[in-house]
Symmetry: C2
Subunit: 464 residues, 2 copies
């Protein structure tokens, strides 16, 4: 290893990258650290390669000098996975933002990692195809970040998570070597499926530079309803019933408990409440192929459930506008900011245990924070709950107490501390609540193999 200081390394990188490739000083400190965060980026520089070759050169140099790197996509993460130390360098993929090909017959899209999710959705829609991955941050998040974090979102029930949409990828390893696995094949059992290692690794095992995505036929029909249930047992019953009845077209099954429903539909919320007071609300969404048949079936199925009493009230959207209004309730999550900066949690729990678990968490939190405001909702069809807690303060001690309340009981229910948000820096201390020691040891072995000098997103996901 040649010895060189950080400033000398940055000079070398300046020569390596195309013009505008190295930002320093206020070009760094003037940038937000994330779209949900109040602070700005603290890092020695932001590198902006224009090509895979440039990413490779950057990593080779940084590897040579044991210089830690943090890869940045759209900075929409919720677990501190993109945070930097002042002596670290950011590798931003913002200038690698080209959609390279859309193959209509093969239904694939090839893109550089820095393309925003929405640009991929739009390009697919323009070709009468669907890229099904969808989340609130669609305008800012990038496809590379989506894959690096195995993003979930609104249509997992039908189409699976980001992992399921990925056919091929190109990744640059810590030492700068480029691994090309750019296949379009749906089925490919020719050796280990190495792309799987990088999906969900949060930038700690390599830098994803290009992807080949699987596109789906565009759905021709969209049915949306909000229904009310008498109790949680009915929720699990209708989930299994609807998943069967709609033959694979059920794409969202979003449950809202009354506190959340009231918050997002009260006079201050900007939305109106389409249903009165009930024990539980479920937003249903199907994506089908036949508008008239699907609508008739949707109404029949919900009608039967009403007759049986498994649902006690329902409103079915008759227009796109009404469908959007029902979704706006579920998406009106910003209302939880009404009582100060909230803490957001994202857990998985078996559906059978979900309500018991929820009650246990809330009981603990209410005891510790009697004046707190707590809201629960989530992608229950996927086993995924979101909890929001506003307790009139925001510091490490409060966070630790809330963490204990929500992650503590998870082990007993064999849940996960992160359904879709990842681990990053924030949840690292709790990883052992849902991963065995043997799993963590294996993660460490993988990390050590792929990044022996620990230069990639150091201190995230697991400690080495």
């Amino acid at each position: 290893m040649t010895h060189i200081d950080l400033s000398g390394l940055l000079d070398q990188l300046e020569h390596t990258l195309s013009p505008g490739g190295v930002l320093r000083g206020t070009d760094v400190s003037g940038r937000s650290a994330g779209i949900w965060r109040p602070d700005t980026i603290a890092a020695a520089a932001i590198l902006r390669p224009r090509s895979t070759a440039e990413v490779s050169q950057v990593l080779a140099l940084c590897h040579q000098h044991q210089q830690p790197i943090v890869t940045h996509g759209g900075l929409t993460g919720l677990v501190g996975g993109a945070l930097t130390q002042p002596d670290e360098i950011v590798l931003s993929l913002e200038r690698m933002n080209q959609i390279e090909e859309l193959d209509r017959t093969g239904r694939t899209l090839t893109a550089q990692a820095g393309v925003p999710l929405q640009a991929i959705q739009d390009a697919s829609a323009a070709a009468d195809l669907l890229f099904p991955l969808d989340l609130g941050a669609r305008g800012s998040c990038t496809i590379g970040g989506n894959m690096a974090t195995n993003a979930g979102g609104n249509r997992v029930l039908r189409y699976g998570m980001a992992r399921s949409q990925l056919l091929g990828l190109e990744v640059v390893l810590a030492d700068g070597s480029v691994v090309s696995s750019m296949t379009k094949m749906l089925k490919n059992n020719a050796g280990y499926d190495i792309k799987q290692m990088f999906v969900g690794s949060e930038g700690t095992l390599g830098v994803i530079t290009r992807v080949i995505l699987r596109l789906q036929p565009a759905p021709a029909s969209h049915q949306v309803a909000l229904v009310a249930c008498p109790d949680f047992a009915a929720v699990t019953q209708i989930l299994n019933h609807l998943d069967a009845a709609f033959g694979g077209t059920l794409s969202a099954f979003e449950v809202m408990w009354p506190d959340f429903y009231t918050l997002v539909s009260d006079a201050e919320s900007g939305c109106r409440a389409p249903l009165g007071d009930y024990p539980l609300y479920v937003l249903l969404d199907t994506l089908g192929s036949d508008p008239s048949r699907d609508k008739a079936q949707f109404e029949d199925v919900l009608g039967d459930l009403l007759e049986q009493g498994t649902i006690v009230d329902a409103v079915i959207a008759q227009t796109k506008q009404e469908a959007a209004e029902l979704w706006a309730l579920r998406d009106n999550v910003e209302q939880v900011f009404r009582f100060g900066q909230p803490y957001l949690f994202d857990v998985s729990v078996p559906i059978a245990d979900m309500d018991v678990y929820r009650q246990r968490v809330l009981a603990a939190w209410e005891q510790d924070f009697p004046d707190g405001h707590f809201y629960v909702f989530g992608h229950v069809g996927d086993g995924n709950l979101h909890f929001c807690a506003s307790v009139g303060g925001y510091d490490e001690t409060i966070k630790a107490c809330l963490d204990e309340g929500i992650y503590g009981p998870l082990k007993e229910f064999h849940g996960s501390i992160s359904a879709e948000h990842g681990i990053g820096e924030e949840k690292k201390a709790w990883l052992a609540a849902c991963r065995s020691d043997s799993e963590i040891a294996l993660m460490r072995a993988l990390k050590t193999t792929l990044d022996p000098l620990t230069i990639l997103n150091r201190g995230k996901v697991i400690d080495i």
Copy 2:
């Protein structure tokens, strides 16, 4: 390391395992080496552990003595992935054959790795649920083998490959350490998804001992048709059209070229030909939720295609019996044995290039083997083609020549030498035809990390 000979090691293993745990002599050599193979097992012993703890003890001992091990499931593989050398030891999971739990609400099934696929399908069906993985070898293959090889089969188009059905697994590493990742969560982004490494690794990275599977709602309706197309362009057109029109319920799209269709439906075949002579035949299958609506829609959609001329003839099954008869044609693959032991190939090619590729392969083969019989069919909806070649002989020289004809052109089309059968021993020499050097280097790094002494299924998939 203590020095010990193979016989001493087997004595130790005899003490370690429960009674009947070590087979030797004719108990080994009397067993078939595979359900498609004429030879018997040549190995020093067959170990039959009853529990994960026993598997762990076996591997710890073998690791200590650098004793190579080959894991056996149902021995239904087609690429020599379970072959042994005389001084190797077989680790058979045949006594780990318990279904441990079926969770109706959570729709999961927990099983030991040695449970046959069909037993899992049957248990799921008895609970009015579906385990969608399905292949011809269902009665013999085991769920551990299915996961170790990432099996494909008949319903990949709708439900994905084996990988997509797996929620959790338990695996024993080469050194005997047990990694438990037995989660039921659909969404779990808590650290690296380490189970992905073992799916499709063909027993070279660890021994899968238990799995948690995702079950699906049982489909209430099943539509099957055989249609004829005027040319291959029509085939790609109707695939995209039907996938959209049937809104995700299209579960099989199996193409047969005329040579194959004639072979499996002629006077000697045991089947009858439901359609006359056409350039191409497609077997369509949908699994839906609403028998009457689905049937009407199926008939409408096919009627429209007939009117447009994209399909030129069609027969729609009206009864379960008729549906079974149409599938019997596609499944009548044994007819290819009529002209002697055939060679079977399993490749992926982009659909747009499929017919050109097929013509190129057949031209090469026909030149080398003017009297050969060649048949092509496959899961075209998944980009997967099967080729059968009967050339009046079966030896390494012939195999090499056929390999050259089929794998040689694949690189140009960016296809895969193995869509679903894996690499095993047979395809190892051709891996570089569809995997980059960088991918293979990464596979090696993974193998070296997880099995540093190369005791697990030595010589399969990649050379170290």
